[in-house]
């Protein structure tokens, strides 16, 4: 925000959305599917980035918000026969409510204690999913039938299992969340969040209730991550407990670190980069995680601010 030029900023973000739109028509089938997945998960990374990048709160429990959306949408479709839009909303509401409760409890701590508390709550959530296997399918998970994944609005029916519909749905969600994130970080509220990250004590002495602001950020972050989870369930038709495991709390952290914390486009770039590194290297060797690890170490050594963070630092100071 060093050079406040809203036109340039919005043009860039709309350009990225337009590019992703165009890619739908040129990408081969396999990559089209991969991109749909990446865009849905980039929303997860954006939700994580809001809290980690902007407020400076490192959570190790965001898998619970993602899976609250995943199960909130998946279970209402599977058991209650809800339609896609209602199930999506149910997923987001589940995530937001969970984030409110977790936020009220976890924000009593900070720093390392916050990491541990969020991780413990996420483990509880994971174990609850396994415990209530009768409804959740336990570690087998649930497959959402193709017939349940069709949106019909006034005679038009959209089949989310169709690759193009799926791609466009993921893109629509991604675009909406990206523009919300952009507006949020450029807003007065965004400025307060950054101030809390930089110096919470000083922010209090400027008249801000920092705990209330952090709580709003946790709920917004949880809701966005849940939107990603709900979309994932509905677009890819699988709801599984592995999405609630610790791995899915660490992944968004890696995506955001890679792409650049506290940048609006970093989460997309990080998710994209990590997915493709994994995808390409797993073609050569079963030890692909080793290569992913090396890539991460190199990045931390040579570009500790992540891809977009380094670009902003070296060349484009105006990047949000």
């Amino acid at each position: 925000m060093r050079d406040a030029s809203p036109a340039k900023t919005y043009a860039l973000h709309i350009g990225v959305i337009a590019l992703l739109f165009a890619l739908n028509f040129v990408l081969p089938d396999y990559h089209q599917g991969l991109f749909a997945r990446i865009m849905a998960l980039a929303v997860f990374a954006m939700g994580y980035n809001l809290l980690f990048g902007y407020v400076g709160l490192l959570s190790l429990g965001h898998a619970m918000f993602f899976s609250a959306g995943l199960y909130g949408a998946g279970l209402t479709v599977h058991h209650l026969g809800w339609g896609v839009p209602q199930a999506f909303v149910a997923g987001v509401v589940c995530g937001a409510l969970l984030a409110l409760v977790i936020g009220l409890l976890a924000l009593r701590t900070s720093g390392v204690a916050f990491m541990i508390v969020t991780m413990m709550f996420a483990q509880v959530f994971y174990l609850l999913i396994l415990y209530f296997a009768a409804w959740t399918g336990g570690d087998q998970g649930l497959v959402i039938q193709q017939a349940s994944r069709v949106i019909s609005i006034g005679g038009i029916s959209l089949d989310l299992t169709d690759p193009t519909v799926r791609y466009m749905s993921a893109l629509a969600l991604f675009a909406v969340v990206l523009l919300i994130a952009l507006a949020l970080v450029r807003s007065r509220f965004g400025r307060v969040l950054v101030a809390i990250r930089e110096n919470e004590e000083r922010t209090k002495m400027l008249g801000y209730d920092t705990v209330a602001n952090k709580l709003i950020a946790v709920v917004a972050s949880g809701a966005i991550c849940a939107a990603s989870g709900a979309a994932y369930a509905l677009l890819f038709g699988y709801v599984g407990s592995n999405f609630a495991s610790i791995q899915y709390s660490i992944l968004p952290l890696l995506w955001v670190l890679l792409g650049g914390a506290a940048t609006t486009l970093g989460p997309l770039i990080g998710t994209l980069f990590m997915y493709y590194v994994t995808d390409i290297t797993s073609g050569f060797t079963s030890a692909y995680l080793l290569i992913v690890g090396v890539a991460l170490i190199l990045l931390v050594l040579f570009a500790p601010k992540g891809i977009m963070g380094s670009i902003r630092e070296r060349w484009l100071g105006w990047l949000p």
Partner: protein
């Protein structure tokens, strides 16, 4: 005239140490009050109790007729009690503009001011002479300018009481003169309470002086009275002026 701020039996203990010990204090609206005293006299603890950064062990703080003893710091700021830090504590990684925008947007949200964030920010920056540095990162400012930014942030809060904790510490003599002019300007719309070690600044600026020693008020009066006070000379002035 009723005082803007009063304290009654205000005390704060840290373990066995009574940093502030039963202080009765009153501040009149519009005055510039200096708080002086040797190191460890309890000055910073005292103003921290006023701003709400720390809670008293006992006693009460009343601001403009409202008992604010139990009120959290951020709510006191909204009432008009602003505090600038002794150790420069600007947001180093934010621009000068954003540093000042934070207090400005706070007063807009509270409905205490009207208009655009940008207008309010530029007004505060003009007043402190930082307007041409709005786009600079605070970390890249010189120390003197960081102190001014700290004051600009305090000003932008539209305070009724501005507490300055050793504002001239580390400033060059030329900067100090500007600073005195600035504080006189601020005192036209706000009450100023400053902790200060620089005696020429205190004598030139303060309407009244309160001298702290061992957590208690040792003396209070006009600069002339304080200068003539034998107890003060023994406890403080004598020690520093040989």
């Amino acid at each position: 005239m009723t005082p803007l701020l009063t304290t009654k039996g205000l005390s704060r203990q840290f373990g066995g140490l009574r940093a502030v010990d039963g202080v009765d204090f009153a501040l009149m609206p519009g005055e510039i009050r200096a708080v002086i005293g040797p190191n460890g006299a309890g000055k910073t603890t005292f103003v921290s109790l006023l701003s709400g950064r720390i809670r008293p062990s006992s006693g009460a703080v009343v601001f403009d007729g409202v008992d604010i003893t139990a009120m959290p710091a951020y709510q006191r700021v909204r009432l008009g009690v602003a505090y600038t830090f002794q150790i420069t504590s600007v947001f180093a990684n934010l621009t000068v503009f954003d540093n000042v925008a934070l207090p400005v947007q706070r007063t807009l949200t509270d409905g205490r001011t009207k208009g655009q964030v940008r207008t309010g920010v530029m007004a505060a920056l003009e007043r402190t002479g930082l307007a041409d540095r709005a786009g600079t990162l605070a970390a890249h400012l010189s120390y003197g300018h960081q102190r001014l930014l700290e004051v600009a942030m305090g000003l932008a809060l539209k305070p009724r009481l501005l507490i300055l904790d050793e504002p001239t510490q580390g400033l060059a003599d030329s900067e100090i003169d500007n600073f005195i002019t600035l504080v006189r300007g601020i005192a036209r719309d706000a009450t100023v309470l400053l902790i200060e070690h620089n005696m020429p600044v205190v004598m030139g600026l303060a309407d009244r002086i309160t001298v702290f020693n061992s957590g208690k008020i040792l003396a209070e009066g006009t600069p002339g009275e304080i200068r003539a006070n034998r107890q003060v000379q023994d406890a403080y002035l004598g020690a520093t002026h040989g």
